[in-house]
């Protein structure tokens, strides 16, 4: 399965969660995935980014977690959990993914979801090497999964069994299995290999032959075809059936990745049949190829061996000597490469200053740079551990770069908060002082007092109360004079005074009375205007109070959060750099180890070559005891 198909597959199965009735399949188009019916807008947004963004799900996951935090996806609790688990898996975070899938195993979870969870858990266990746990998980699945997933499950199970050496079990499962067409080829290949491992070669033959003769345009399938032929060929070689070995071996593509091994094997097959001249054909072809290939290295010995068998001692000697030379210089190159690795330059050579930022486990390193020591790392790249390690290294770099974009933002946020704080620091004391006066209350009280006084005046017809200041003064004066007059002894003086006062008072009263209604009306209107102003004041007052109440706590809290996050960014960045460094060291160790192993292999071959060469010279010396001096044996190295 190609990586592209993986992503599509992952998406399809993750999102094909059946909440009964949650499907809104539109058209019966077999090519289209059924539409997801989204009930929460924000869940839809996560999906949008999952499908549209080219970052292996990082943005989608960030949003998923954020929206979860705000609880904005209440209708999609299980969906989002499943999607999150799948995204963590896609980002190579097996622990987290495993935990999330575990939570989807509860009783209240629909069976289809639980099945999926078991499936992915099985896969995670397999990849981490816990084969029995993987098997248990895969066997917990009840009923069938979607066809593609079901095929993958079978495939996983078979791999688990074979890793445990349980070939017969694997064979039993494979024999009875039918699946989608594109999986059948893999299934048959596995079956063939299992049969070989179980020592059932006659049964393996037709199956591996079928795979070994399949027609295809797909590079993947053609490679598998080569592997099947190679496996069959070597199985026959091992079973001492050389003639049978040749047929499949000669089907292996000359320009394919298994060509060298096939040529080697073909030569051995011919040699085993006794035809050494024929064996030389593939071996000489191999001999011309790059010495880095293990099969080629062996051909450096196989060719002179053949010549030796054909009694061409001189040629054999020549080839052995050439082999020793090549092994020696290659050994020196390996030393140089190991030294360079320990210098710490290896990854720079492999990855350059800046790496392929694609995140996730579907990434594969396809090309190598031209630096000399990188040639030795071909075999290393076939190593799963090394590939994973390399991917980790790149992932760490990718994440590091992703954090950079937040630096500018954090500065901006801090500035924003700072501005807010200063603005409020300036205005708050004034606002507080104003609020403390509680003007509306006082004003309302005053208004109420005025209102009740006015009521009393109107009810009591207290015309004097609404008089002008002058009039009130006069009224008071008259009242005072009235008292004085009343105090006089009875007589003409008193009567005259009282009459006069009565007249003046009458005039004044008349004036006051005729103005009373109007004045009363004016007062009422003024009061109404005051009411309007008071209401306006009250509204504003409430708004100021609200703003005052909410803002200060917000700002302080945000400032703290910003500071905390800035610190976290810094800390995480340091850990990323540090861990990338550790990963680098690990990779160097693995690489140096591999090269050293290669060097040891060359040394072992060199030993054999020297033995064989010495033997040839010995025999030559024996034959020409009295003849010219034998060619001097090469200096032992």
């Amino acid at each position: 399965m190609t990586p592209g198909r993986l992503c599509l597959g992952l998406a399809a199965v993750l999102l094909a969660v059946g909440q009964p009735g949650a499907w809104a399949a539109r058209k019966a188009d077999p090519d289209k995935l059924p539409s997801i019916r989204v009930q929460d807008l924000h869940y839809g947004d996560v999906l949008f980014h999952f499908w549209a963004d080219e970052d292996s799900g990082l943005e989608a996951l960030t949003r998923l977690e954020a929206y979860n935090h705000w609880q904005r996806m209440p209708h999609h609790a299980i969906d989002s959990q499943l999607l999150a688990a799948g995204l963590y898996l896609q980002l190579t975070m097996h622990n987290e993914a495993g935990e999330r899938f575990q939570t989807l195993l509860g009783d209240n979870i629909p069976q289809p979801v639980r099945n999926k969870a078991w499936f992915y858990l099985g896969k995670i266990w397999y990849e981490r090497g816990y084969y029995d746990r993987s098997e248990q998980a895969l066997n917990r699945i009840q009923g069938a999964l979607a066809p593609q997933l079901e095929a993958e499950r079978m495939h996983l199970l078979v791999n688990v069994l074979m890793r445990q050496g349980r070939y017969d079990d694997a064979i039993a499962r494979l024999k009875s299995w039918q699946g989608p067409a594109d999986w059948m080829a893999y299934a048959r290949f596995n079956l063939g290999v299992a049969l070989v491992r179980a020592g059932r070669l006659p049964e393996a033959d037709p199956i591996l032959t079928a795979v070994g003769t399949l027609q295809s345009d797909s590079d993947e399938l053609l490679t598998m075809r080569d592997k099947a032929n190679l496996a069959l060929g070597f199985a026959y070689l091992q079973a001492d059936q050389a003639r049978r070995a040749r047929v499949p071996l000669e089907r292996v593509r000359l320009d394919g990745p298994y060509s060298s091994r096939a040529l080697l094997g073909d030569g051995w097959a011919r040699a085993a049949e006794g035809d050494l001249r024929a064996a030389l054909v593939p071996w000489l072809e191999l001999h011309r190829r790059n010495l880095l290939d293990a099969a080629v290295q062996e051909s450096y010995l196989a060719v002179p061996y053949a010549y030796g068998k054909l009694n061409a001692a001189a040629q054999a000697a020549e080839y052995y000597e050439a082999a020793l030379q090549s092994f020696s210089s290659e050994s020196d190159n390996l030393d140089a490469a190991v030294a360079r690795i320990h210098d710490g330059h290896m990854l720079d050579d492999l990855l350059g200053d800046d790496k392929d930022m694609r995140y996730g486990w579907v990434w594969q390193l396809k090309t190598l740079p031209d630096a000399p020591q990188s040639r030795y790392l071909y075999s290393l790249l076939a190593d799963n551990d090394f590939q994973e390690g390399l991917k980790n290294y790149r992932d760490l770099n990718f994440l590091q770069h992703g954090l950079l974009k937040w630096d500018d933002s954090m500065e901006a946020f801090a500035a924003m908060i700072d501005t807010r704080e200063r603005a409020y620091a300036e205005r708050l004391p004034r606002a507080d002082a104003l609020l403390a006066t509680d003007a509306p209350t006082r004003l309302r009280a005053a208004r109420a007092a005025v209102d009740s006084r006015l009521n009393a005046i109107e009810t009591g017809d207290d015309v004097a109360a609404l008089g002008t200041a002058e009039e009130r003064a006069q009224w008071a004066q008259i009242a005072a004079l009235e008292e004085q007059a009343a105090a006089l002894p009875p007589g003409l003086e008193r009567d005259t005074a009282v009459d006069k006062l009565r007249l003046i008072k009458g005039v004044l009263y008349w004036r006051l009375d005729s103005s009373f209604k109007e004045r009363s009306y004016d007062q009422r209107r003024a009061l109404r205007e005051l009411d309007a102003a008071l209401e306006e004041l009250q509204n504003r007052w409430v708004r100021v109070q609200d703003a005052r109440a909410t803002v200060p706590t917000n700002t302080g809290e945000f400032a703290q959060r910003i500071a905390d996050l800035a610190a976290r960014i810094k800390a995480v960045r340091e850990r990323l750099v540090d861990t990338a460094g550790q990963q680098n060291v690990y990779l160097q160790t693995v690489a140096a180890g591999e090269l050293t192993a290669q060097k040891e292999r060359l040394a072992a071959y060199a030993v054999q070559a020297r033995y064989a060469l010495a033997d040839i010279y010995d025999r030559a010396a024996d034959q020409t005891q009295s003849g010219p001096a034998p060619p001097s044996a090469p200096e032992p190295k």
Binding site: L41, T92, V590
Partner: protein, 203 residues
């Protein structure tokens, strides 16, 4: 998911080659006893790395923990940014969803709120595909005061006969306390063979 592991084959190969090499020795000289060993080491998949398995596992654990911390950090930053810039009581968000898409190939959308342009977004085929699959894009987030407002959306695209056309939709809405979500829905109206554009207010 993976293809049949390449580990099957090299293992096979190593066993075979191991058996082969002693045979290769010439008749006269005794075959070196330890010939098979280098072969196995050479062609066995992944010669055991010099780093010990426990150390590897620890580092792997460390990396996974670190990745988790980065994800958490990303989440917290996203949350902070939105709470700071678009607090809930003033937030307004506009989403876009699309039906099957037989009758309308979306090219761009422009949004105006209260007569002010707030978004103008170009869509690529990939994004349109994401919408058709059921994704709902959060096209715009902003702030609005409480009260009445108007949203006007203009949809540009290609109709069923490859003609470009533009459609509009508008909605008057009331912004109260709490976030306001509006959804621009592009649906196929099968009978009329025309797309329909409506704005849904998620009260």
């Amino acid at each position: 998911m993976n293809t049949p592991s390449p580990n099957h084959l090299p293992l096979l190969l190593s066993l075979v080659l191991a058996a082969l090499l002693p045979l290769a020795a010439s008749a006269a000289a005794p075959p070196p006893a330890n010939a098979p060993a280098p072969d196995q080491a050479a062609v066995a998949p992944a010669a055991a790395p010099a780093a010990d398995a426990a150390g590897t596992r620890a580092l792997d654990q460390q990396i996974q923990d670190l990745k988790k911390d980065v994800i958490d950090l990303n989440r917290d930053l996203f949350v902070l940014e939105e709470e700071l810039l678009f607090p809930a009581n003033t937030q307004v968000a506009v989403f876009v969803s699309m039906d099957v898409g037989d009758f309308f190939a979306l090219d761009s959308i422009s949004l105006k709120i209260d007569n002010r342009e707030v978004a103008n977004y170009l869509y690529t085929p990939r994004q349109v595909g994401a919408l058709i699959k059921g994704g709902v894009q959060r096209l715009y987030v902003g702030n609005l005061k409480a009260g009445g407002h108007e949203l006007v959306a203009l949809f540009n695209g290609k109709g069923p006969n490859e003609r470009y056309y533009r459609r509009g939709a508008n909605l008057k809405f009331e912004k109260g306390v709490g976030a306001k979500y509006l959804e621009l829905k592009i649906t196929d109206h099968a009978r009329a063979q025309q797309p329909e554009f409506e704005i849904k207010d998620w009260e």
